[in-house]
Symmetry: C2
Amino acid sequence: MSVFVTPLTPLAFLERSAAVYRDAPAVVDGERRATYGELGAHATRLAGALRASGVAPGDRVAYLCRNRLELLVAHFAVPLAGAVLVALNTRLAAPELRALIEHSGARLLVADASAPAAAALAGAGRPASLHEIAWADPPPDAGGIAYDDLLARGSGEPPRWGVDGEHATISINYTSGTTGGPKGVMYTHRGAYLNALGEVATAGLGVGSAYLWTLPMFHCNGWCHPWAVTAAGGVHVMPHEVRGPELWRLIDREGITHMAGAPPVLAALAGAEEARPLDRPLVVMTAAAPPNPVVLAQVEALGARVIHVYGLTETYGPHTVCAPQRDWTGRPAEERARLLARQGVAMVMADPIRVVDSDGRDVPADGRTMGEVVMTGNNVMKGYFRDPEATERAFRGGVFRSGDLAVMHPDGYIELRDRAKDIVISGGENISTIEVEQAIASHPAVAEAAVVGVPDERWGERPKAFVVLRAGRSATPDELAAHVRALLAGFKCPDRFELVEALPRTSTGKVRKHELRRAEREGRAPA
Amino acid sequence: MSVFVTPLTPLAFLERSAAVYRDAPAVVDGERRATYGELGAHATRLAGALRASGVAPGDRVAYLCRNRLELLVAHFAVPLAGAVLVALNTRLAAPELRALIEHSGARLLVADASAPAAAALAGAGRPASLHEIAWADPPPDAGGIAYDDLLARGSGEPPRWGVDGEHATISINYTSGTTGGPKGVMYTHRGAYLNALGEVATAGLGVGSAYLWTLPMFHCNGWCHPWAVTAAGGVHVMPHEVRGPELWRLIDREGITHMAGAPPVLAALAGAEEARPLDRPLVVMTAAAPPNPVVLAQVEALGARVIHVYGLTETYGPHTVCAPQRDWTGRPAEERARLLARQGVAMVMADPIRVVDSDGRDVPADGRTMGEVVMTGNNVMKGYFRDPEATERAFRGGVFRSGDLAVMHPDGYIELRDRAKDIVISGGENISTIEVEQAIASHPAVAEAAVVGVPDERWGERPKAFVVLRAGRSATPDELAAHVRALLAGFKCPDRFELVEALPRTSTGKVRKHELRRAEREGRAPA
């Protein structure tokens, strides 16, 4: 630090808004409301409480909460204490959560009753590293302490807003890896700061903005929106469920101007009985799959503007945006939908997006030649926590290899064509097909299994399993589903289990998943 | 550089916009129009031309131009060539310009006929360091080469967009120092990048924005707007003069959404015959003096939104903004004007603004206790070029000492009360009273002189001189004015020279300027 260099950190955004907008609204969470002054005071108090609870600089603090005031506070309080935030997916099953918490080495967990598996972590199944569980809104007989008792440990002495080095880790976000164990994606203070400003610029967030939290904060730290909305001095509004009536109630009552989420959020917005033309501008940022042209038209007919973005956990959420051109307005709806379905160009704070061949050379911008999407720059993760090998693999060739396959159009916009990684994206959640296959194969009756994504109107894609049973053994699809549900989050469990004689394989023995997908689409048995 | 760290530089903004908005409008300069693709090509070509002309990394390249396409291009092309941009004030006199160019050591000057003194630099009066002058729109018989001939030296091979280290100097902006020689304020690539994003967030710049260049680009690199508007993909519109009819012509024809400037710009806007209610939002950023309540009301009555900012050359232009609070709307006009007249709070990318006593301790936030405004952070200059002593003085105590005196209000907003430095601000131009006094005192008939700022309806302040003649010598005010005009820019020459018997002094011999100002306000002779 010197007179003219201050390390970049999103902590500065709450420091500023807590002072500048101290009496202005910051959070609406059900009947609870907080001003920016109160949000700042809550964060400094909790940071002090974490220190008093033995959390040391660099320690991990895990959260297992729905979108709520406490999880927003954590995005500032945990780094303010010098620690690293690990926001966990509330939809995961107890064994999954246990593995992630142990991998992170978190010593403290803050949880609420929204995660079905939360209670299981408190008892005999408590992860080894965990010293303490604090409950915001506890399930019955949970053990641990109340969140308010944790908070009460905080002294009045506020910690210094700021960080010594901007490349310090601010958070770890677990992603479902396609191979091996959990992958903890490390974000830096600098990356989070720049991403937040990039979101402000891309979405046009300002002091009059009201942001509806339809996107889970445990996904890529809510695409850095906890920091971006706070930088802008906008209001964070927490819906209690992501369904039409609740969304429209808050749009009306809180004057929502921005929201974000996977395509089901768009569908919930447009499909609600309450849907009606908006009386103020609304920006809806969407990712995980191109917006469905019908839903896109419905949402735009309400007067909302849809921004299509694309990224991965490893890129702090959105890395590209399908930046609209001035001359797109007025084009036929079908053409606009086709243009907007593309993943687009790098956001303003990101390095240019590239699509490369197997030798790492850019493919021609012809809209036809496929290659792998690769990224570099300040919004690429620092690496995987405690996994130098996986980090090295992801960074080979001096770029982050997304595993996604795309073409580069002549206008410089990328369009995804396929995923090189075996991932199904269902309602914005990544599902590793390999993980699901392993879960199925652990059933004693199963010889082998293959899982593919099949199109689904509501969720975009859903996993489907093709299962070969061991000779002389039997298992019903319901038995297999129950087996998987005991091991994995419910959303990862295939909707359908099809028992087959054998899986189609290449001459080298690889399952021809492409063939399974095609057979599924065409409604016939796999060859 | 690594996979996840790219040095911050505003060059990235043009690299991106030239690709993403290649066919969209970027510049309107009279009848000339350029797309972002053309702007990018112009910049890369000029960067190659500078290299081919012997400009080496770290060299300075000076510009003496009105706001025009070429000066905008320079903000990218010069750093793209690895060099440092020195944009000079076209209103300065030949001796002043010569001193600045020599101090900078610039080897190349790009000039146009807008600077009255430009031709004088081309002939026998050419600064020693200067190898070459290139003319964009030359005065008659100017010598040197044409800008297009310079440009033609550029090879087709585009330089790499980017910089090796983000703390490298991108530009030097000369400020009228109150003591000693010229002070060259050094900006870094990182500072320029962050300031530009801060401007985007503060002004709400976006791809639909059209920015009217009423603010000279030679002032603090136009408050980083060359980079900010380009980051947003907005349109740069160059007025040929900052007068009502031209402003309103462009507001209508080009759909202006943003502009910036000193209070005379507001007055020109509101006072024009063409003034009428706007049919789209217009944001006007103003600095140098609090907006006059009457003009503020006039401008707001047109439908424009005024943003009051404050900063210095040393802070890349604006550092604070009088951030409006939600509950200010609807208050009585008089109260709103009083609230908006304050210099406000740190912008989103800046460290918190402070007001300190002589021991460097924060003054109480009581709206009464005066102290000095001090700044730190990424938008504070790296230092004064080739002047470590002045840099050390400016940075003593580990902060940048603005020299401005202010109070801190209970709501955290600062309000300037006086200037510790002897500066008159006239129409947004800083005038060092010491420099003017020295120019007057160099007249053989003058014993001593004192210059103070007196209120002026159009320019905010104008300098006035109190002059004591040598015994037995005589000089008329007109003779003194002619003498000053030969040495300094016309705007620095006092409007009035009052001959007095003696200057009021303190017991230690310091001129009591406060008394001169008060006497002037009260219309009586100084004691």
